[in-house]
Amino acid sequence: MPITTKNGTVQWTPSQGEVRKKFLQRLLLLVIFLLSARVISQETMWPFVLDAPAQVKDFISRMFPPDFRYTNRVIPALVETMNLSIFGTVGAALVSIPLAIIAAKNTSPSRVLRLVALAIIVTTRSVTSLIWALLIVQIVGPGLFAGVLAIGVRGIGMISKLLYEAIEEINPEPIEAIKATGASAAQVFLYGYVPQLLPTFVGVTVLRWEINIRESTIIGIVGGGGIGFLLNSAVNRLRWDQVIVVLLAILVIVFLAELISAKARQAVT
């Protein structure tokens, strides 16, 4: 009975079933959480964890004063990182156009090709760029080129997915109208599809670029070039005064990229 009157005031209580359901849901969540926590705990070396505060104090004391002379290595690495993100993004965007056209239900030339395109999109999207870098480094050797390929491959998945979804949701009326004037296939594409898709395409590409800047800062850790390489080497040499300079540089470049990306996306939409 959800509503009861007690001492003249009306009280509302949720029904028995509801209370039980909520309780069971919470219990289930708690059990899952505890089981998970147990898995983590078993795999953890607790002495190392307990030692952490002392370690952290030590790192921080060794981070200061930062070694600002390291900037003469950091700045070229930042330029590399920037190139990495730009080439990776543009390359991915160029590959994504045909891939998205093949993958979209309404523009796909054949069903078999469509499945292949969808498979490519799913695979490139589900594996992060760091894992791609790990694979590609073994093929082309460590360096910037491997980094560009890794960033690019991961980008293809995201840009083509969003682009082919946009193609599928396109407004068919302008396209119909252009076809009715006797326009060739190329003209239909240029004047029917492109104007409708351009804002999405540019917006997605810029967003991807912003993500790629972040990814470019770490791709060097597995041999993909850029500032990640410096970070890794500074960490391995335990030069905390250099690590902090690299981290600051990453903060600055990511912050700038976020600003530029936000402005650019505002401009196209």
Partner: protein, 269 residues
């Protein structure tokens, strides 16, 4: 007498995106220069690639015959660990993000609290998850504990930023009405703010859990536990057939997570 057409033929050409031809060609030239510079900077080494391609053939050949069984136990352990990391990090992240969520909303806290929360947010968000993982691995030792911390911090940054934006856009009139009844700050948050954002908050948490799982597959590469660590071992041993199996497992679980999370979100909304 034949009628003569004195009317000149009207032609139309597409308006140029950049009006001034000088600027247009200058831009073209700059782009070409940048591409040339970039390609040279990448130091593409054809001999190294030729060497790598034969290895690539072997690698992808092995990927096509994935071997799930040889390292079965490690793969299962790895994927369970990744899931456990996701669960613990998501719950911990939700609880710990609450102060930041409300602190980073301009309209419900005093300015100093807002600025401090935003500063913490910027730091949390600009470090790539792998960089965080590296730092935590050094502090807390190898294993999933460092991974959980990494994902927790990332979850906090993500939730706090998006939910705070949500709070800044809520209906002010409700708050005004509550203030005029003399409600305390806590009452205002619980009865005025929370009901307006709770649905969106839950949706974001589920989305974020999916993202965390995705990231949990990578941070293992730098020693923070999960399936990534197993992949890194397999690649290090050039055991490509196991690596292929792990990649497939990652792809399948990432996709399951994505479809699962979007299905739950659709049901909630």
């Amino acid at each position: 007498m034949t009628p003569t057409n004195t009317q000149p033929v009207r032609t139309w050409s597409k308006p140029r995106w950049i009006k001034s031809p000088l600027l247009r060609y200058l831009l073209f030239a700059l782009i070409i220069l940048y591409v040339v510079y970039g390609i040279r900077a990448f130091e593409i080494n054809p001999e190294r690639i030729a060497l790598g391609l034969s290895r690539a053939g072997k690698m992808f050949g092995s990927f096509l015959r994935p071997d799930f069984l040889a390292r079965k136990n490690y793969i299962i352990q790895g994927i369970l660990e990744s899931m456990a990391m996701t669960v613990v990090a998501t719950l911990a992240g939700v609880v710990l993000s609450l102060p930041l969520v409300f602190g980073a909303a301009k309209n419900i806290v005093p300015r100093p609290v807002y600025l401090l929360s935003r500063l913490i947010l910027v730091i949390f968000r600009s470090l790539h998850v792998v960089v965080l993982a590296i730092l935590f691995v050094i502090m807390f030792g190898f294993g999933p504990f460092a991974g959980v911390l990494t994902l927790t911090v990332n979850t906090m940054g993500f939730l706090a930023k998006l939910v705070a934006e949500e709070i800044e856009n809520i209906n002010e009139e409700t708050l005004e009405a509550m203030r005029s009844t003399g409600a305390s700050w806590l009452q205002m948050v619980v009865y005025g703010v929370w009901p307006q954002i709770s649905a969106r908050f839950t949706g974001l948490v589920i989305y974020r859990a999916d993202q965390s799982f995705r990231q949990s597959t990578v941070i293992g590469l730098v020693g923070a536990g999960g399936i990534g660590a197993v992949l890194e071992t397999a690649m290090g041993r050039y055991d490509y057939r196991t690596a292929g199996a792990i990649l497939l497992v990652i792809i399948i679980f990432v996709l399951l997570g994505e479809y699962g999370s979007s299905a739950i979100r659709r049901r909630l909304v």
